[in-house]
Symmetry: C2
DNA sequence: TTTGTAAATTAAAAACATTCTATTTTACTA
DNA sequence: TAGTAAAATAGAATGTTTTTAATTTACAAA
């Protein structure tokens, strides 16, 4: 399906490079919502000359073009997702161990959206809702 | 009400210092959910010798003792809140302009909690729920 | 009230993810 | 195939937060 990617990149006005293909294909195959560094660790095994800068630049570009999504976490380390189907991310865990679950349930998404929209007069799009839950702290 | 603070600090096994009182009183008076730096900027006008390290250390201590809450944001800059009444934080805006709104509405909180609990078998406590919403990006 | 000591503050350095800058390399167009 | 704009690279810089090591302070005990 390299041809599909070529079309996608061209449509978005992007050149198709080895690095971009590797990053996007990895993101499309995985369900783990990896961080920039996780992506770098994976990709650099096959392409040892790639740099972390390139991974960051590429991810930023893909996010800006709407090809992937950036998932913020309370740990301050962003995660990435190539699944564009509307779903909510439940971000859990602590700084050292972030866990992300997908919520595809339409009812829940709609409920949250309606509540937010009604209370705050916000036009919120599914992709931009994050429900972040911290683990309990000891007092 | 300096006496109340003395009691609070003693109960928690903390020494009462000028810095801790200044930080906690500021947090208790404001409704703005300030960052460490915002707190530092405010406090250092009255106590010019305080350092940002002390602000961070103090906030960490107060959070660990359950005296205040730490609010994560997608901007990677944490905010702080001395309001312990159960409420959900709606974090909006972009990196340069984070806006935080409080949701006290019991029904919404209960709804979100129930949904999360049912779907994921999680015992979630009101204080630890964050609904984070990013502003739409241009494609 | 004074003294002793552990706890807290301070200044500075380090850590960490991320962004930026300047140079080299590459993809695509003509 | 050559020319050029875009992208990749290496490394420095940034901004928030944490850590370290030295100094100062709060407060319990005498
Ligand atoms: Mn790594
Ligand atoms: Mn400042
Ligand atoms: Zn996802
Ligand atoms: Zn609040």
């Amino acid at each position: 399906m390299e041809k599909d990617l070529k079309k996608l990149f061209t449509e978005k006005g992007l050149k198709m490079t080895i690095q971009r293909v590797a990053i996007l294909e990895y993101l499309m195959k995985t369900k783990t919502h990896p961080s920039a560094d996780m992506i770098y660790e994976h990709i650099s095994k096959k392409y040892p000359t790639i740099t972390l800068s390139t991974v960051y630049n590429t991810l930023e570009t893909l996010v800006n073009k709407g090809i992937i999504k950036k998932i913020p976490t309370f740990a301050g380390i962003s995660r990435y997702d190539a699944d564009l189907e509307p779903h909510v991310h439940l971000v859990m865990g602590d700084d050292k161990n972030v866990k992300i679950k997908d919520i595809y349930d339409k009812e829940i998404i709609q409920q949250i959206r309606t509540e937010v929209a009604n209370k705050f007069n916000l036009d919120v799009d599914d992709n931009n809702i994050y429900l972040i839950i911290e683990e309990k702290r000891q007092q």
